[in-house]
């Protein structure tokens, strides 16, 4: 379970997130909200990339108190990943695999599944946006995370790769109980029974069912 407590984030005097307390149980969650409302920022905060005020804990592991253990449990795939252009995709995967303690078989499986073999030994500067996206998704799945945050995972991917990602998500959830929080403006054709929707509204995080019940949508 992901616990957010007294969480806030401001850019200058503009507060974009103010969450008193919110718990997200295991499952696959679709994070909704219009452009600029703070979805990417929230995912980066949970992923330990963006500074914030307040507390974030996953399965009782606090990001502030146990940052290493927390980061082994929580992975992130960014919407617009920015990687050093002079590195090869393979080098970045090696670095992440070592840090996230991923097994060689997992790396091979992901390379094969996302069909990146033919360019992974070339510098990232030569990749298209779709190729960079695939690399970012591979990094997000490496290791043994219990929660994976995916920011717009389907954009720039071809239809075949989109289906692969959806299969990966569902299988990770079913076989290894990996939870997901996915931000996407595209419809997620995930049919898992545990798919729930959460939404950022007025700087707060709310379950969409609660919004519908309250007649706000």
């Amino acid at each position: 379970m992901l616990e957010l407590a007294n969480l806030s984030k401001s850019y200058g005097s503009n507060t974009i997130l103010e969450i008193d307390h919110f718990s997200i149980p295991s499952g696959i969650f679709w994070l909704l909200g219009h452009n600029g409302i703070g979805k990417t920022t929230l995912l980066k905060m949970i992923g330990g990339i963006e500074p914030f005020k307040g507390n974030i804990a996953f399965n009782g592991i606090d990001l502030r108190q146990s940052p290493v253990e927390y980061r082994r449990s929580v992975n992130i795939g960014e919407a617009e990943p920015l990687f050093p252009t002079f590195l090869k995709g393979k080098e970045l995967i090696e670095l992440f695999a070592k840090a996230k303690q991923a097994e060689a078989t997992q790396v091979s499986f992901l390379l094969k599944t996302l069909d990146v073999h033919h360019y992974i030994n070339t510098p990232i500067g030569s990749y298209s946006s779709g190729m960079i996206k695939k690399l970012s998704l591979i990094l997000a799945f490496l290791g043994n995370p219990s929660l994976i945050l995916l920011d717009e995972p389907l954009i720039t991917l071809d239809k075949e790769s989109q289906e692969m990602i959806q299969t990966l998500i569902i299988n990770s959830w079913k076989e290894r109980n990996v939870s997901f929080i996915i931000s996407s403006h595209q419809e997620l054709p995930i049919t898992a029974s545990s798919l729930s929707k959460i939404m950022i509204r007025d700087r707060k995080l709310v379950l969409l069912d609660n919004i519908i019940n309250a007649g706000l949508l």
Binding site: M45, P51, V74, F86, E91, K100, S136
Partner: protein, 358 residues
């Protein structure tokens, strides 16, 4: 042209204000005011009549040219300058080259004026060939600089990054959190690194030439160390920006704070290896150790301080200028080890407070 002037020319002089002040003080403040004209006329005659001063002068102009090109390249990389890619790419190559040539003339105005002065003295003193040579060299430098600046611009708009990967020594380094910064240095900062090392060398030579009676003075050595660490600000800034922006995703990796801070410290140490070697070859072991500690502490303090100024090069340069003045005042008092430890602890505090995402 006004846009080019504001972005490149005005900013170049603003950012390098400290450098120009330093050079002006050296050229016009170090000697007897009554002898200044005779001194400078003597220097110009030496340039015109002796090949060694002439070579040194042309080398210094070349360093200045490289520095101006480096500045343009860094400016073009800024997000705020991205609009240039859309607006100026529609111009013809001739129009673009005219803009760049004018920009390079304005940025290189100090050396251009000096070259013209030398040439006029040359014509007056019948050293016609050398005078013509100086004019040809300076025009060639500025023209070549304009061409290179336009190549930087072209590379920026075509995102020709794959080409940069032909570098090969960088590929031999192992992939690790520590060495990514070094790979970046070798792949994209070779020129900046070379210029910084040249500045270090010139600072050491220049300072010991001016203060030749203080060859073994540790305080003077500490001021020299301060000068060459501060001469590396562009390099440190680029390293920090690279770590903060291009390696943002690495903050999701399960590394401890100590590991990250220590890695930054080791990267800074690697940057200053030539200077560390110089220190240990020049001073006694204990003094060298203290000076090396001070150098490392100051560099990591500067590195972490970049987060205080919000990743703005202009503000960082101003900050380092005032820090330099402050250190030059307090270093002669002594307690270099204490200053080093204070700088190191402050760097750690800034790292914890400003650069960590919690």
């Amino acid at each position: 042209m006004l846009v080019f002037y504001k972005i490149f020319v005005a900013d170049f002089y603003r950012v390098h204000f400290g450098f120009f002040l330093f050079v002006t003080l050296i050229l016009f403040g170090a000697g007897d005011p009554g002898q200044l004209l005779a001194f400078h006329t003597g220097v110009i005659y030496a340039i015109l009549t002796n090949s060694f001063p002439l070579t040194i002068t042309i080398c210094l102009w070349f360093v200045y040219l490289l520095k101006s090109l480096l500045f343009i390249r860094e400016k073009l990389k800024e997000e705020a300058q991205q609009f240039l890619c859309y607006s100026f790419s529609s111009l013809s190559k001739t129009a673009r080259m005219t803009y760049w040539f004018t920009t390079m003339v304005l940025i290189n105005m100090p050396i251009l004026l000096y070259a013209i002065t030398c040439a006029l003295v040359g014509f007056y003193s019948k050293n016609i060939i050398i005078a013509l040579l100086l004019i040809i060299v300076i025009i060639a430098f500025i023209s070549a600089g304009s061409f290179v600046a336009d190549r930087f611009f072209y590379r920026r708009i075509t995102v020709q990054t794959a080409k940069e990967n032909k570098f090969y020594f960088a590929n031999t380094l192992p992939i690790s959190y520590l060495f990514i910064g070094m790979k970046y240095l070798l792949a994209e900062q070779k020129l900046a690194y070379g210029i910084c090392k040249l500045f270090s060398y010139l600072l050491i030579i220049g300072m010991y030439h001016i203060f030749h009676d203080l060859q073994n003075n540790v305080a003077l050595a500490a001021i020299i160390v301060t000068s060459f660490v501060i001469a590396h600000v562009v390099l440190l800034f680029a390293q920090f920006r690279f770590e903060y922006q291009s390696l943002a995703i690495l903050r999701n990796l399960p590394y401890t704070d100590n590991f990250r801070f220590y890695a930054a410290l080791k990267r800074n140490f690697l940057l200053f290896i030539p200077e560390v070697i110089w220190l240990f070859s020049r001073f006694k072991f204990f003094e060298s150790g203290i000076l090396a500690l001070y150098m490392l502490s100051l560099s990591i303090f500067l590195y972490q301080s970049i987060s205080l100024v919000g990743l703005k090069l202009d503000s960082f340069v101003k900050f380092t200028f005032f820090l330099f003045l402050f250190l030059v005042i307090i270093i002669p008092i002594g307690y270099l080890a204490v200053i080093s430890i204070i700088l190191l602890c402050t760097a750690w505090a800034i790292f914890k407070l400003k650069t960590q995402p919690y």
